[in-house]
């Protein structure tokens, strides 16, 4: 057992080297990484960075354009847009991260099980994947969120369901390949339980690929979160989220451009950062998907 464990560690080591090599080669990915770290930092330090309380209304300062006092202006309730954009980062990152974590756990578990067990179970799981993929992501998320009702938990569940299918596919293919390998054969001969083989011997051999792709799909999860908030199915007000800020600002789009432009830029930068980073990482793990 210990020998197979070291074997899998040894196999994983060059892979992480490859990741770093890819990051070094692809200069755009550094911009992505720097941007992402900055956004995470802003989200964590929100209470210290935000100049005002994001929920504090002030009728005197309604719809103020950007100025020295309010760098990004104020909204129709007199709330500071900069503070709300800063706090909005928390919701986007939290929803994106937790939703992908759930999708990754369920999706890769299903993928490994389907690949290992095969047969009818495999057909059923892949059928489920086909069904999930037959709905446009946004429409599926919108329906689930609408059926469950608007709340943070339901939003996360809805987005997680829309992102499960690709994880199943990514985990299933390598499982089918690994199942044939000698060390799994050996484990089976030694009488290890299927659960142990899957959990200790198959999963660690592919988990780095799955995690890398998760960073790419977190971009899509954050995009869905923003879109659902824009439609009005996100975290209910008055919580500051980028999507709902744009939704509220849209009513004043003719005379208060700053209400929509700044949260828009925040969404764009976050998704772009994740995409820049994810693209480089994906090139590193899968030469077939390479964009060069």
């Amino acid at each position: 057992m210990s020998s197979t464990a070291t074997a899998s560690v040894a196999a994983a080591a060059p892979r992480s080297h490859a990741l770093w090599a890819a990051l070094r080669r692809n200069r755009l990915s550094w911009i992505g990484l720097a941007l992402l770290l900055l956004i995470i930092l802003v989200a964590f330090l929100a209470p210290w960075l935000a100049p005002y309380d994001p929920l504090k209304q002030n009728i005197i300062y309604r719809l103020e354009p950007p100025s020295a006092q309010f760098w990004l202006g104020t909204d129709s309730y007199g709330r500071d847009v900069l503070s709300r954009v800063i706090y909005g980062a928390r919701v986007s990152l939290l929803v994106g991260f937790v939703a992908i974590l759930i999708a990754m756990t369920i999706g890769s578990a299903l993928g490994v099980l389907a690949g290992y067990i095969g047969g009818l179970f495999d057909r059923l799981v892949m059928g489920l994947v086909d069904v999930l993929l037959s709905f446009p992501t946004l429409v599926l998320g919108l329906m689930i969120a609408a059926m469950l009702g608007a709340s943070l938990e339901n939003l996360i569940i809805a987005i997680a369901i829309t992102e499960i299918a690709p994880f199943v596919r990514v985990a299933r293919a390598p499982t089918i390949a690994l199942k044939q390998r000698d060390f799994i054969e050996a484990g089976r001969a030694l009488g290890y339980s299927p659960l142990r083989l899957m959990g200790i011997h198959i999963l660690p051999n592919m988990i780095s690929d799955v995690v890398v792709l998760a960073s790419l799909w977190m971009a899509s999860a954050i995009r869905t979160e923003a879109s659902l908030s824009f439609i009005g199915l996100g975290v209910p007000p008055p919580t500051a989220t980028w999507g709902s800020m744009i939704r509220e600002g849209f009513e004043n789009i003719l005379d208060a451009w700053w209400l929509t432009v700044f949260p828009s830029l925040a969404i764009l930068l976050t998704v772009l950062a994740l995409n820049l980073l994810g693209d480089a990482l994906r090139d590193a793990i899968d030469p077939k998907l390479r964009s060069e």
């Binding site: 755009l28 059928g127 709905f135 329906m143 923003a226 432009v261 995409n275």
Partner: protein, 313 residues
Amino acid sequence: MIKFAIKRLLLAIPTLLAMLTAVFVLVRLVPGDPAAVMLGDQASAEALQALRMQLGLDLPVHQQYFAFLRDVLSGDLGVAMSTGRPVLREVASVLPWTLQLTAAAIVIGCLFGLPMGIWASLRRNAWPDYVGRLFSLAGLSFPAFVSAILMLLVFAIQLNWFPVISATHTGSWADDLRNLALPAFNLGLIMMAYVMRVTRSSMLGVMGEDYIRTARAKGIRPMRLILRHGLRNALIPIVTVIGLYFGTLIGNSVLTEIVFNRPGLGKLILGALNVRDYSLLQGLMIVFASCVILVNLLTDLVYGLVDPRVKYQ
């Protein structure tokens, strides 16, 4: 070819049935009594009972399920509670708008995406390549409503080139086109990004092949080399991507229609959400998913047209 088409069509049937089952389950996830949700707090017990009967909610679940399947498969998507009109007619009355928008987006996406992708692949690791890659990545990063709002701010409000609200029927061709321009470009931008990326990587693969070198050695004109020998062989992944991202496109058309206040499936879905019209939502979901399944089917069939080497077995 015919045999393959029939076989492929048969393979779509289980997916279709499973999709309908998923919709059936999802709609029954609504907490509480759908009849009570639809009629509101003030409804009388008789009215609730009548609606439950009408919706078939008083039947056992398996009977509801088979009744649902029978209705949908015979082309009956039920009646929209909010308007009292058949769901299918509601959909049919706005579908041309959405189809017009998505078709225009695909045309724009290919018209710009293909040449940009080819150019980037020919100037690999030079500035056209970097600009193109950054541009396409930005295109993939924009949620459709963000790019729509920025376009609206710049081109309609600041520059006043296009109407802020896309009017419904104006009668004149030029006005229709002006109304379509911004939404179509917004949606086309996303398609452009996808098409550009896949064209670039597919062309890079093909242009490195031996037969391209041979053709070049024979002195074929560059244009002919790129289009006939290169692009023709690079088309399959491009067609796949266009088909694959149709779902993304139609989802994004929902957001685009909302921002530009354009009639279509997006506005219909938003209206249904606002009045909690579950029968209309259920019908729309079936329509959206059927569109995606149909386009996937067509994509598979189109392979043979763009690449004669594909043998349908």
